[in-house]
């Protein structure tokens, strides 16, 4: 096919032929495509199987879970969910988690915005070192900080408050937000800043009226990643809370060790923790990679 294309390459019909040859080839590829699609399908099935098992269990009674292995609940029941939604010690866990996650999200993005602007627009004394130092905090093992955090927040009388967890999670979320926002801001040409100043905009007016709308998607992505990493973290959240601000994930572990075998309720509680993430992820589906790569994709 390519031979013919090269022979007639001077005349117009020949060129058209080579185009159609290319199209034919990609159509052939499209035939193979169905085989190729098996890989992502298998992969997604592998990802969904354990989740399916959890959801399946959450609709079963304990007798059924422990009795026989069934692929579908034989006697579907909402009992497990009812337990969670009627018992404050359960559902307050979700409320607590959401309170400190949102607090953390707001604080992180608010302080990260000016810092990211500074890093993306200016060079200043020690800027590179500072940027690196921020990264090291994102990479710090939470286990190292668990005990000193406990003592620090005890000294301030903040143990078992939402703000304590929100502040502690800033350790890894603020650097993350700075890195992501810096990536997005560097994509906005500097001429926009200069034009705004020439037009007589003051800095705050420029920043809120012109610049922030331009990086709105970046702010959304940064907020999402702060939400996510605060939502999935357990070690620090558990260390800093006793009862009043205890996150749902910590309540789950406690219940496992105490009553041991209430598998149905445990599964329901687990299934409910997946929902917030599953909802918000839809909004940032095209930016997930950028966020994980700290704004560097």
């Amino acid at each position: 096919m390519t031979d013919q294309a090269t022979i007639d390459h001077t005349s117009l019909p020949g060129a058209a032929h080579s185009e159609s040859a290319l199209a034919a080839r990609s159509r052939m590829k499209a035939g193979h495509f169905r085989w190729k699609a098996l890989i992502p399908i298998f992969y997604i099935v592998f990802l969904l199987l354990p989740i399916y098992w959890l959801v399946n269990m959450s609709f079963k009674t304990n007798q059924e879970i422990l009795g026989t292995l069934t692929l579908f609940p034989q006697h579907p029941t909402l009992h497990n969910y009812r337990v969670i939604f009627t018992d404050p010690s359960w559902y307050m866990g979700y409320v607590n988690s959401i309170i400190y996650v949102v607090m953390n999200m707001v604080i992180s993005v608010a302080v990260a915005l000016p810092a990211a602007y500074a890093f993306s627009r200016y060079r200043f004394l020690g800027d590179k070192h500072l940027f690196f130092w921020l990264l090291t905090n994102r990479m710090a093992p939470p286990a190292v900080f668990a005990l000193p955090f406990f003592q620090l927040y005890s000294a301030f009388g903040l143990i078992d408050t939402h703000i304590a967890v929100a502040l502690a999670h800033c350790l890894f979320n603020v650097p993350l937000a700075v890195w992501i926002l810096e990536g997005f801001m560097s994509g906005v040409p500097k001429e926009i800043d200069e034009t705004a100043y020439i037009d007589g905009y003051s800095f705050p007016r420029f920043f809120f009226r012109i610049f922030m709308p331009l990086i709105a998607s970046g702010i959304g992505v940064a907020a999402f990643f702060c939400f996510m990493f605060s939502w999935v973290e357990l070690l620090i959240a558990r260390t800093l809370t006793v009862t009043d601000a205890k996150p749902i994930s910590a309540i789950m572990t406690r219940t496992v060790s105490a009553s041991g075998l209430d598998w149905g309720v445990l599964a329901a509680a687990g299934a409910l923790t997946i929902i917030p993430g599953a909802i918000v992820i839809w909004f940032v589906r095209n930016y997930i990679a950028k966020g994980f790569a700290l704004g560097r994709v």
């Binding site: 992502p40 992969y43 997604i44 990802l47 354990p50 989740i51 098992w53 959890l54 269990m57 879970i65 422990l66 608010a110 302080v111 990260a112 500074a118 627009r121 200016y122 060079r123 200043f124 921020l134 990264l135 905090n137 990479m139 710090a140 093992p141 939470p142 286990a143 190292v144 900080f145 005990l147 000193p148 620090l152 502040l167 800033c170 650097p175 700075v178 500097k190 996510m228 999935v232 357990l234 070690l235 749902i248 994930s249 789950m252 572990t253 445990l266 599964a267 687990g270 923790t273 992820i281 589906r285 095209n286 930016y287 990679a289 950028k290 994980f292 790569a293 700290l294 560097r296 994709v297």
Partner: protein, 295 residues
């Protein structure tokens, strides 16, 4: 972009600096403080010098945990990176299935880490879990609570389940940023599938792949919650990784001095890795900026 030199930019950075100083520097100073002192209780401390560090660096327990962690990181990288590339290559490049695939694949990343542990703890049980039951029914003797090899397999499969999607997403972002013209040129040249991968896709994915490898390495190096929920570090100490060991030492045995010294050694290792990560990222970014998936 040409940046102007302006030291007043420090004022913009100040809030971040204060906040992170509060949540990182002060706790870290406490750790440093503990690492050079010993206590007989009653809040009476005395100078202990570098003895804790000597103890940690020569202790077999720390070496074992470090070796286990390195082995774990090496195994999951060897599985997750090729698998991630394979899935990313096979994913559709456009169409209605793309967002569906992306969202479904990202799902495990958004589950709280201890729920991930719980899911696998249940899923791998031979009495009530689908996986454990199936493996058992196939006649394979499988028990992740008692058998060391089974515990390792379970923890590794769990990590592959949890984090391979990160590699997929990053590679996919790198792949969609390759202009169509590259593929058309390759088709005209009659390039084989392997040649397209080797000379077009792999070099173009290089940067994101590097980020993926480094992130996975570092995150697997501080893994705590998931293996702790599934195996609790056992059987014996066979799945006690560095973080689990550290928490055992600090909170379980309340050996603050040794735990603090171990924290600092651990932190220095991470610092070294971060420095490599940072240098590689900033250098790879300057010569050929790649734009992908984000548009």
């Amino acid at each position: 972009m040409e940046k102007t030199w302006n030291n007043k930019a420090w004022f913009f950075v100040l809030p971040v600096l204060l906040l992170v100083a509060f949540s990182a520097v002060i706790p870290l100073m406490t750790v440093v403080n503990y690492s050079v002192q010993d206590s007989f209780g009653n809040n009476q401390f005395f100078w202990y010098g570098a003895d804790w560090f000597r103890e940690v660096l020569t202790s077999e327990r720390f070496h074992d945990a470090l070796m286990r962690n390195l082995l774990f990181s090496a195994i999951i990288l060897a599985i997750e990176v090729p698998l991630g590339i394979l899935v990313a290559l096979a994913m559709p490049k456009k169409g209605v299935w793309v967002p569906v695939c992306l969202v479904l694949m990202a799902l495990p990343l958004l589950i709280p880490w201890n729920v991930v542990g719980t899911i696998w703890q249940v899923f791998a049980r031979t009495d009530i879990g689908l996986l454990g039951y199936t493996v058992d029914a196939l006649g394979i003797d499988y028990n992740y609570v008692r058998n060391v090899a089974d515990a390792w397999v379970t923890v590794i499969v769990m990590d592959v389940w949890h984090w391979t999607s990160l590699v997929v997403l990053l590679c996919y972002a790198g792949l969609v940023s390759i202009p169509d013209a590259y593929y058309q040129a390759a088709k005209i040249d009659g390039a084989s599938r392997w040649a397209v991968f080797r000379y077009i896709q792999l070099p173009k994915m290089g940067r994101v792949l590097l980020i993926a490898v480094l992130l996975r390495f570092m995150d697997s190096f501080m893994i705590y919650t998931e293996p702790f929920v599934v195996t609790g570090g056992g059987p014996g100490n066979s799945t006690t990784f560095l973080s689990i060991d550290l928490v055992k030492l600090a909170i379980g045995q309340f050996n603050l001095g040794e735990a603090a010294a171990m924290s600092l050694v651990y932190f220095l290792i991470i610092l070294l890795l971060s420095w490599i990560f940072y240098t590689v990222m900033t250098n790879a970014g300057t010569d050929r900026p790649l734009k992908g998936g984000a548009e």
